[in-house]
């Protein structure tokens, strides 16, 4: 029995178990401190639908052996460009949203290709280089947000007349087009974002199906055993590039869905640290540096968003001070440190 428990802890990982029980205790405590359980769960689902796709976007790169995508910001930039261009062209509703997506995907493919070529040149050190590629591209884009010739009065600074604002409202363009699609309202508090959830599910299914095709299995092989894959005639470098492009494209879509649901396009330094919560969520779901699945995405995003939603409300009510931000930092970054110190079979 003792052996069995030890085995489970070894397999699942102690931090995950601690976090899981932490979350369960938060849910148990919630009704006692006057927080409605149904609204809390609804909040978790809404946030899951907002952030899920960003977590999903990490999967292709993990599978191809590129490690955790610390350079997620590159895809986010593609998404942001799509968003601001669609608003500049006054495109509204579903048309606007899909136009933003089309532009974003186009840019993401180009960026992803170059990113993939770079990552192939530095096999073995992907993660640390990717972190700084992400950071430097965000700060480079800050300069461009300032000098690109956008004209729409809803996006540029009111007084200077040039340069984009730090946050741009999507209301009046494509705010909540997915979220309100087939929306189910139960009572006055519970709003079920069917459209966004369906979209997330669709993307999950597409990624799952993609890894059942010939290219998908080749990517998997290239990641789990590059030498074996090469001997089977798989072009490992090409597979890695495809996976990086795929990851970047999904990130671009992910940030658009996030903005659509959130209501604001956040520019400048806002995307700087966006990679870490997504990575932490995936790891929380049971993934490691070299292995990830759709199951990990869904479980991880749910657990992570659960903690983000429940800690502020419950802890605030118990000890009357807001420790949630610090707890979030400890949990998400601690999870990443833990995963990085695990011995995994990632080969260069």
């Amino acid at each position: 029995m003792k052996e069995k428990v030890k085995n489970i802890i070894e397999n699942v990982g102690l931090p995950r178990i601690i976090i899981f029980f932490f979350l369960v205790s938060l849910f148990v405590l919630a009704p006692f401190v006057g927080i409605s359980l149904s609204t809390s769960i609804n909040d978790v689902i809404v946030r899951l639908s907002m952030n899920g796709i960003l977590v999903l976007s990490l999967v292709p790169m993990v599978k191809s052996g590129c490690g955790l995508n610390f350079g997620l910001q590159l895809g986010i930039i593609a998404g942001l460009l799509g968003a601001v261009i669609s608003i500049e062209m006054e495109a509204t509703g579903f048309v606007g949203f899909f136009m933003a997506m089309g532009i974003a995907i186009f840019i993401a493919v180009i960026l992803g290709f170059f990113y993939g070529v770079l990552l192939n040149k530095i096999k073995g050190d992907e993660m640390v280089v990717a972190t700084y590629v992400g950071f430097s591209s965000v700060s480079l884009m800050c300069i461009f947000w300032l000098i690109l010739p956008f004209k729409s009065p809803n996006m540029i600074w009111a007084y200077g007349g040039s340069g984009l604002r730090t946050t741009i409202n999507t209301q009046g363009y494509w705010f909540h087009v997915l979220t309100d699609f087939l929306q189910i309202k139960i009572g006055s508090h519970i709003i079920f974002p069917t459209g966004t959830l369906l979209f997330f599910a669709l993307l999950c299914f597409l990624v799952w199906a993609f890894f059942r095709t010939k290219i998908g299995t080749s990517i998997d092989a290239a990641g789990s055993n590059p030498d074996y894959a090469r001997s089977c005639g798989v072009n490992v470098d090409k597979m890695r590039i495809i996976s990086v492009i795929l990851s970047t494209v999904i990130t671009a879509i992910g940030i658009l869905v996030y903005e659509e649901s959130f209501g604001f396009v956040q520019l400048y330094m806002a995307p700087l640290y966006m990679a870490f919560p997504a990575i932490a969520a995936l790891l929380l779901g049971g993934a490691s540096v070299g292995k990830a699945s759709i199951k990990n995405v869904i479980i991880g995003a749910f657990l992570f968003q659960g903690i983000l939603t429940m800690t502020p409300s419950v802890i605030n009510n118990i000890i009357k001070s807001d420790m949630s931000e610090s707890i979030r930092i400890v949990v998400s970054n601690g999870m990443i440190v833990y995963a990085l110190t695990r011995k995994s079979k990632v080969r260069s």
Binding site: K121, I122, V129, C142, S326, I329, I336
Partner: protein, 384 residues
């Protein structure tokens, strides 16, 4: 052997250009931006002296882990936090002057040793990806630091000075004034040349750290670290305790970073309790890389060339940005971009070269094996 291979196939001029591409690019940028900024020579020299004395110690703290083959120590953030905790205590007790600063160092040393030891253990478990792990460790520790300083201090840890406590009675304020230790080391030996204050005290401390590092390289421990840095297996065969040596290098670096942060803060005179340490690692590492260092090789000269180039850019870029498009914000973003970009570029360049070398070696080994096989075959053929 490795070196020969690479230089053999490469034009020496080209090799120089690639090795020093970062300092060359930054020098060109600076040369372009200085006239644009329109700053007077005196102002410029004054700023640069301040920044040299303020930042050099922190950057010197990076050298020892590079020697031990652990790359750029992003974990110096941990040392900076330890130093800040020491400063919070001496400010709370209301001690002023140089003794206060020395006491802050004394208090924070055990904290820095403890944190460094922890970081060393974590990094030993993450061999091959020390840098990204150290980086994430900094973020993780920042959360713990917040819990301790924002919720623990005044609650569990006794702090009584209402000037540094938040109005709610516990937790340290966002910004605390360090009037008690402001520039006590810089002005310890007052000297002014042409209206510019020369911080002799701090310069002496930095110089003695340089001497310490040069001496340290020659000690048994220093030699061991270099062996570990070159090859773990060789070091182990030579009877060196690799794990312990690596931990020691991180502990020394963390303690030095802790002192570095205290020196940095005494110069500035105010402390942003929750932000001062955040960017310490990034700026120190970027400066070192701008000085021509790489992940595997860094020396004292790189530190000083780096500080001068990197901080010249920091001084001139907002003004230059204003001159180009009329917005100082542009220069602001530009210098953030350069800091991150330099790190991305240097790390990528190093990783790429490491891979090319590995590939060359593999090819050589394969060719050698083939030759042996062929010889064997012909020998067997002769027998028949």
């Amino acid at each position: 052997m490795k070196k020969q291979n690479l230089t053999g196939t490469m034009n020496p001029y080209l090799k120089f250009l690639i090795d020093y591409s970062v300092p060359i690019i930054i020098s060109l940028l600076v040369a372009f931006a200085i006239p644009l900024s329109g700053l007077s020579g005196k102002y410029f020299i004054k700023e640069l002296t301040i920044r040299l004395s303020r930042n050099s110690f922190l950057i010197l703290a990076l050298l020892i882990p590079v020697m031990a083959g652990m790359g750029m120590n992003f974990g110096i953030v941990l040392g900076a936090m330890a130093g800040e905790i020491g400063i919070i205590f001496v400010t709370d007790w209301g001690i002023v002057g140089l003794p206060s600063m020395l006491l802050a160092m004394l208090i924070s040393t055990p904290i820095a040793i403890l944190l460094g030891y922890f970081a060393g253990i974590v990094l030993n478990r993450a061999k091959g990806r020390e840098m990204v792990t150290g980086f994430m460790l900094g973020f993780f520790m920042n959360g713990i630091y917040q819990l301790v300083v924002l919720y623990g201090m005044g609650n569990i840890i006794p702090i009584s000075n209402s000037k540094i406590l938040l109005p709610r009675g516990y937790g340290i304020r966002n910004a605390i004034s360090l009037m008690g230790i402001r520039q006590v080391m810089d002005k310890f030996i007052p000297l002014k040349i042409g209206g510019i204050l020369i911080p002799i005290g701090t310069i002496l401390v930095i110089a003695s750290l340089c001497i310490f590092i040069v001496w340290f390289k020659k000690t048994k421990l220093g030699q061991d670290m270099r062996t570990v840095g070159q090859d773990n297996e060789v070091a182990r065969a030579a009877g060196i305790n690799v794990e312990k040596t690596r931990i020691l290098s991180i502990v020394i670096s963390t303690v030095l970073a802790c002192y570095g942060q205290i020196i940095f803060l005494q110069n500035i005179g105010t402390m942003n309790t929750y932000n001062s340490h955040e960017q310490v690692g990034v700026f120190a590492i970027a400066a070192l890389l701008v000085g021509g260092a790489s992940v595997a090789k860094a020396n004292i000269f790189n530190v000083f060339i780096g500080v001068i180039l990197f901080h010249t850019m920091f001084i001139v870029s907002p003004r230059a940005g204003k001159a180009i498009i009329g917005q100082a914000q542009l220069g602001e973003y530009f210098r953030v971009f350069v800091s991150y970009g330099v790190i991305a570029f240097s790390l990528a360049l190093y990783a790429w070269r490491k891979r090319v070398e590995k590939e060359n070696e593999r090819r050589k080994a394969m060719a050698f094996k083939r030759m042996l096989l062929q010889n064997n075959n012909t020998a067997e053929g002769d027998k028949l």
